[in-house]
Symmetry: C2
Subunit: 392 residues, 2 copies
């Protein structure tokens, strides 16, 4: 198997090779409705940044309710310095780079911005080493990364979702994988802790932190009701579901995932969640290959090595009708800007009726029985079924 060329996205390959008419049909099948581009100011920074802007469209103009238009921005990026540099230098370099991206996102009119998982550090959980990496953890209200983002949120009047490695000093110095929600006035209005923790491939995150204890909060912000399904939680449809039941209109999925582990699944899960729950989903993945000083093994029989594999970016947004944007670059930092009408969420509930036909009482009952009985599976034959249905 030859190594993938991450310089090209799927969309690049299709656009380069397909005749116009067939390209249009392939895009319809793969992405849904055709999207208009947004006109965005030019990026003038030094960094090679993939900037893409789309108008998601798809909503109708209602007579009795005005449109609720917001601009969402997603930032994906690589680390800046080698992981062997002093931690403070590593973090400062990331802060500096991302600050420029946030300032630029503001010029693009972004109201609601989300960064990638644990964005102010390398994704060091592959190493299984506690130090120095645990030092990157910081307080969810007063840590340096949240303070920086709080300043930027206030400066730009922007809601920012800031995923960090959290140090919970008030509770036994516990670590959590957390996303902090900052209002446009700079106030931290809440946080969510990652609900599902992976033990797959080099994702040894259960070595560092436990399953979150914040449930499924939805945050009423100045720009819509938002929730955060962190990384591996995207494989869990119930996680997406509960955010939907709690009223989310946009669910962000800040992630860090590698090509070998998940790239063929990446386009499926966040998009399925948007369809099933009639809300917008925003999937963000980190970029690049991170090298670590000490070698480690991956439990797959291969020799010890120093890197986690390639984080393939490809961040994208899906509308409640299942239409999605192309993905950002697979190798470069990027900013994806999307103009959305939040009214489309309720319009899709009216159209597809998925909430109305969801039969939650049935699932609450069956799931409870399943959990309480430690599973007596429903595996039975017709005669038994008929007895049951006559009882009802």
């Amino acid at each position: 198997m030859s190594k993938p060329n991450f310089e090209q996205t799927l969309e690049d390959i299709l656009e380069k090779n397909l005749p116009q008419e067939e390209l249009a049909e392939v895009k319809r099948l793969l992405y849904g409705r055709e999207l208009d581009f947004l006109f965005l100011p030019k990026w003038n920074g030094n960094q090679d940044l993939d900037v893409q802007g789309y108008d998601m469209g798809g909503s109708i103009t209602e007579e009795l309710r005005p449109p609720r238009i917001v601009r969402v921005g997603l930032i994906q990026h690589s680390i800046v310095l080698p992981t062997t540099e002093p931690l403070k230098k590593q973090r400062n370099a990331l802060h500096l780079k991302i600050q420029k991206y946030v300032d630029y996102a503001a010029t693009c009119g972004v109201n609601l911005l989300c960064l990638q998982e644990a964005w102010a550090m390398p994704f060091a959980f592959c190493t299984r080493e506690k130090y120095p990496w645990c030092e990157f953890a910081e307080d969810a209200e007063n840590g340096p990364t949240v303070i920086l983002m709080s300043e930027l949120a206030q400066r730009h009047g922007m809601v920012i979702i800031c995923p960090i490695l959290e140090r919970d000093s008030a509770n036994g110095d516990t670590l959590w994988n957390t996303s902090v929600v900052i209002e446009k006035d700079g106030t931290v209005i809440g946080k969510h802790r990652k609900n599902h923790i992976p033990r797959v491939g080099d994702f040894n995150e259960s070595t560092y932190y436990m399953e979150g204890n914040t449930g499924h909060p939805v945050f009423e912000t100045s720009f819509g009701r938002v929730a955060i399904n962190i990384c591996y939680g995207r494989h869990h449809p119930q996680n997406w579901m509960m955010f939907g039941l709690n009223g989310a209109e946009i669910v962000f999925n800040p992630s860090a995932t590698t090509s070998h582990t998940s790239e063929p699944l990446w386009s499926i899960e966040a998009r399925n969640a948007a369809i099933a729950n009639s809300y917008y989903t925003c999937a963000i993945n980190r970029v690049g290959t991170e090298q670590f000083p000490n070698e480690f093994t991956s439990g797959d029989g291969a020799p010890a090595h120093h890197d986690f594999g390639h984080f393939y970016g490809s961040s994208y947004i899906t509308a409640p009708d299942g239409t999605r944007t192309p993905g950002l670059s697979r190798s470069k930092d990027g900013l994806l800007v999307c103009e959305l009408d939040l009214n489309l969420c309720r319009q899709m509930k009216d159209f597809w009726c998925l909430r109305m036909t969801q039969r939650l009482d049935l699932y609450a009952r069956e799931l409870n029985e399943y959990v309480q009985n430690n599973l007596i599976p429903q595996q039975k034959h017709m005669k038994q079924q008929e007895k049951d249905s006559k009882k009802q």
Copy 2:
């Protein structure tokens, strides 16, 4: 918007236009692992049948458990006669055509076969007319379609999933949308009734039948533990989930869905379910455009018309690791044959740990609270969250 050319599948367009290396990468991104072809005997019937065979692979050879290899077959097809013909002629013509396909599937070594939703009739629910269409409904044990399939199951030693419109004469002549499970000795071992009924576009099925009362049964057959998620149920992740919790290794999704309504979503939902539940999913869609004698409207402001739109086939199978087959034809009848190792289900549970990290107790509790309270959404701020987490 130009009308799609249903003669070409997505895969046709990609294979025709992409250079070899880029084609391989596009296929990896869109489908996962590369699949080997199965060698199948030639189809000699008159009907133009799209026959495709794949070895799904992906499993490892375990030391303490032998492989559990089965061949699954999916049949997609159009109706035979115009809907204006006498009902008995219409049904007989379908019986005759499908019987030939089943006989051929047997020569391909198929152990476990599934047909499309309500396969022995036109999908007349767009009309909202009760007669003559309700006459197609038949008994789940003694109806002519089940009797035919029972004979074929016995003749070929094949398990057959036979979706019908069910007439429940013993219970007030109720109609259900049902799939009957027939063992390889011809015995009807059970049935499942469609759990989620659409009210979208021309899918006026709630005019004809109600939400099923059979829960989420999994059928222990000679060729693995199977369940059936009928059509619109594929939009409901909880439906897929409960079949998984009840032990399903293969979940069939017999469907009837049209291009305009769902084609860009088709590749997402059944595939997502395979990933999330570590089982095989088999999505089957009917083929062709069905004309009805009386005109009807679609609630979309368009003029009255006589057809439901184009059923686009595209049946496909997904493995528990997310790898999927190409789709069958978008315009022709087809048989998809896949050789699977059922052991891959448990292997993927061990690899991804999605069952282990599922936190069902959390969801049972939250879902129950949601249903009992008629929703008090979890929308709160940090101070409240901290109070809650200290309580735990």
